[in-house]
């Protein structure tokens, strides 16, 4: 009690305490700067070691490393094209399936759901986000794949057989349940929690006065969502989608389980394929010599693809902001 009074009554105390506080401030500032610097150094280190590790493959194959579809470990010929296509197509399918569902979840939860329903669904989404990817992979292989083969692939192949375009894209030569589309669906399940929960938080932050005035002038729910909420939260929604896309591009374990791991290019999304990450996971253990370099070079390409996606996201975000 006396100590408090002392502090309050001695007028010189405040300026005296300024000095130690200032020292701490400098330390704090430098410490946080070092933390930020650490990220850059780490990133540069990873990038450098991947470029050095992958360089022999780029040198041997040249541009063919990206454009060639041959992955022949016996003759040391490596081409990344099927893996690049597989990575992009599974991620794209994941977005096509996942984004509308996520936005639907977010809009329903923030605008339409009764409170007793909102809480359990929100918790469920957060739980889904915490499920490890290997669980998605195992669930995909043991539960989803047989059902998908029996109730989607086989009937669908029978329907589309011989038709133009869909007869190629959706036809499965051997309906095993594993394939590019299966991987896309599992990935969609994995990114929905991210996109949905971020979008929900963003929609929640929009001042309710905006929404209420829109309703006040007679707008329907759809119109409020379309013309008030989406423009307000647009930037953050794109950010959330890009975060999900980043996860879909790099996801390894779940995809390895269900993609079918075929180093071939196929016109059908029902056929097995592979992604960059799944191929690295499959072959890294036993890789030697140039194959190891090729795998590291694959990692380099994945790094680059993810980087390009992030840059595009930034550009999109800044454009939306400009409006």
């Amino acid at each position: 009690m006396t100590a408090v009074t002392d502090h309050m009554t001695v007028p010189g105390a405040a300026p005296q305490r300024k000095t130690p506080k200032g020292t701490f401030d400098i330390v704090f500032r430098n410490a946080s700067f070092l933390s930020a610097l650490f990220v850059l150094v780490l990133l540069a280190g990873i990038m450098l070691s991947m470029v050095i590790g992958g360089w022999p493959a780029f040198r041997e194959m040249g541009i063919g490393f990206i454009t060639s579809s041959v992955w022949d470990t016996q003759n040391d010929q490596y081409g990344a094209w099927p893996a690049i296509v597989g990575t992009l197509s599974t991620a794209f399918l994941a977005l096509v399936i996942g984004v509308p569902l996520s936005l639907g979840i977010a809009v329903y939860l923030t605008q339409l759901a009764p409170p007793w329903f909102k809480q359990p669904v929100s918790t469920a989404i957060e739980l889904l986000a915490a499920v490890p990817s290997i669980i998605y992979g195992m669930w995909g292989l043991f539960v989803f794949v047989p059902l998908f083969a029996a109730y989607v692939q086989i009937p669908l192949s029978n329907i589309v057989e011989g038709l133009p375009i869909v007869g190629t894209v959706l036809y499965s030569r051997s309906p095993s349940g594993l394939g590019i589309l299966t991987a896309g669906i599992i990935l969609a399940f994995m990114i929905i929690p991210f996109i949905a929960s971020i979008t929900r938080d963003m929609l929640d932050q929009i001042p309710s006065v905006l929404r209420e005035s829109a309703y006040g002038i007679g707008a329907t729910t759809w119109e409020v969502v379309r013309h008030v909420l989406v423009p307000q939260a647009g930037v953050s929604i794109i950010g959330a989608i890009m975060l999900g896309l980043g996860r879909a591009l790099g996801e390894t374990m779940a995809v390895t389980f269900v993609v079918g791991n075929a180093n071939r290019l196929s016109a059908s999304i029902m056929d097995p394929g592979s992604t960059i990450a799944s191929r690295i996971a499959n072959e890294f253990n036993e890789a030697m010599g140039l194959q190891l370099n090729a795998l590291i070079a694959l990692g380099c390409i994945l790094f680059f693809v993810t980087f390009v996606v992030l840059v595009i996201a930034r550009i999109l975000v800044s454009r939306v902001k400009a409006y």
Partner: protein, 341 residues
């Protein structure tokens, strides 16, 4: 918190003690269960532990070349020139077989008969249906469905794939010229599963599929399997006896470092897809005492480990081969040129 610190300190202390005597090794995943079992029993007797990292054959070869371990382990044997180049000595430890696991509705276990060329045809996409005339002709009395065959292969590089493709190269000239034998090859058709467990899961999940797995894996997972015609024209059931029969007729000195293939060996009861797994040590190790400890461990396993191997569905080497291996160890010397075993 204090407890955790004490525990951590104790663990560090323990591992410090253990490391001084531990044998270090790394490599193939296929023999890992039996090496672990042998190591457990060996530690009870001698108090010397084994620190074996099952990182895959490729990793094992890398590690022994880099001299970070006392021995490397590989399923696919190194060639003579590679052994000389790196100054390595190679020898087999234990054997196993590869069986074709199948999932075909209406076919009972061990009832389906196949030949090597038919399996090659299936994996090259030339034989597409289970009721292909070639398969039907071999299997009178077995109802085969009019369904597409889903071939399953190992998507990771693996000694199992090497053994399987080496066998197909031996029985099918077409396979040899188009695909060849390696730890991973270019598959024309089919789906890939990661590891023995990935292949067996895919075979179980996917109807009308065929895959290849280690015998121990097929047995423990109760997978249905097909019989394969051997070099003598018989269809033996895959078991310890059939694998040993394959080893009995082999000439182990045909290739340097015992690096022969046991595939498609003569013998009425010989299982056609059989292989040994190998260890690699440096012929002139920098730390001879470490390699000496490793060789003593293998010698102990040769003397006392056969029952443990059979329990885990591995096949021990014939006694004559073990003696030949011990003889080969005379090539491992200390810096003074004196054999360490």
């Amino acid at each position: 918190m204090r407890n955790i610190l004490i525990l951590a300190a104790a663990t560090i202390g323990l591992s410090g003690v253990a490391q001084a005597a531990d044998i270090t090794g790394a490599g193939a995943t296929f023999p890992f269960p039996i090496y672990a079992k042998w190591a457990e029993a060996y530690k009870k007797e001698t108090n010397i532990g084994l620190n074996y990292q099952s990182i895959g054959s490729g990793g094992g070869i890398r590690q022994i070349k880099a001299k970070t371990v006392a021995f490397g382990a590989t399923d696919a044997p190194l060639k003579g020139e590679d052994l000389t180049k790196d100054g390595l000595i190679q020898f087999p430890t234990v054997m196993g077989g590869v069986v074709p696991a199948i999932n075909v509705a209406g076919v009972e276990a061990g009832k389906l008969k196949l030949t090597g060329p038919i399996i090659a045809g299936i994996y090259m996409g030339e034989i597409k249906k289970w009721n292909d005339p070639k398969i039907v002709a071999l299997n009178a009395g077995v109802t085969l469905p009019d369904a597409n065959i889903n071939p399953v292969y190992r998507s990771d590089g693996s000694g199992t794939t090497y053994v399987f493709t080496d066998y197909l190269s031996k029985v099918s000239a077409d396979w040899k010229s188009k695909v060849g034998a390696n730890q991973s090859v270019q598959w024309a058709v089919g789906i890939g599963g990661k590891g023995n467990e990935g292949v067996s899961a895919s075979v179980k999940q996917v109807a009308n599929s065929i895959g290849y797995v280690e015998y121990a894996y097929a047995k423990q997972n109760k997978l249905n399997f097909a019989l394969i015609q051997n070099a003598d024209g018989n269809y033996p059931a895959p078991d310890d006896k059939a694998f040993q029969a394959a080893a009995a007729n082999a000439n182990w000195n045909e290739a340097p470092g015992f690096g022969i293939s046991l595939n498609n060996q003569k013998g009425a009861e010989a299982w056609p897809i059989t292989a040994a797994t190998f260890l690699l040590v440096h012929a002139k190790p920098e730390k001879p005492e470490e390699v000496q400890a490793a060789l003593k461990f293998v010698d102990w396993a040769f003397k006392n480990g056969d029952k443990l191997a059979l329990d885990l569905d591995y096949v021990p080497l014939p006694a004559g081969v073990k003696d030949q291996v011990r003889n080969a160890w005379k090539g491992v010397t200390d810096p003074a040129g004196k054999p360490i075993f």
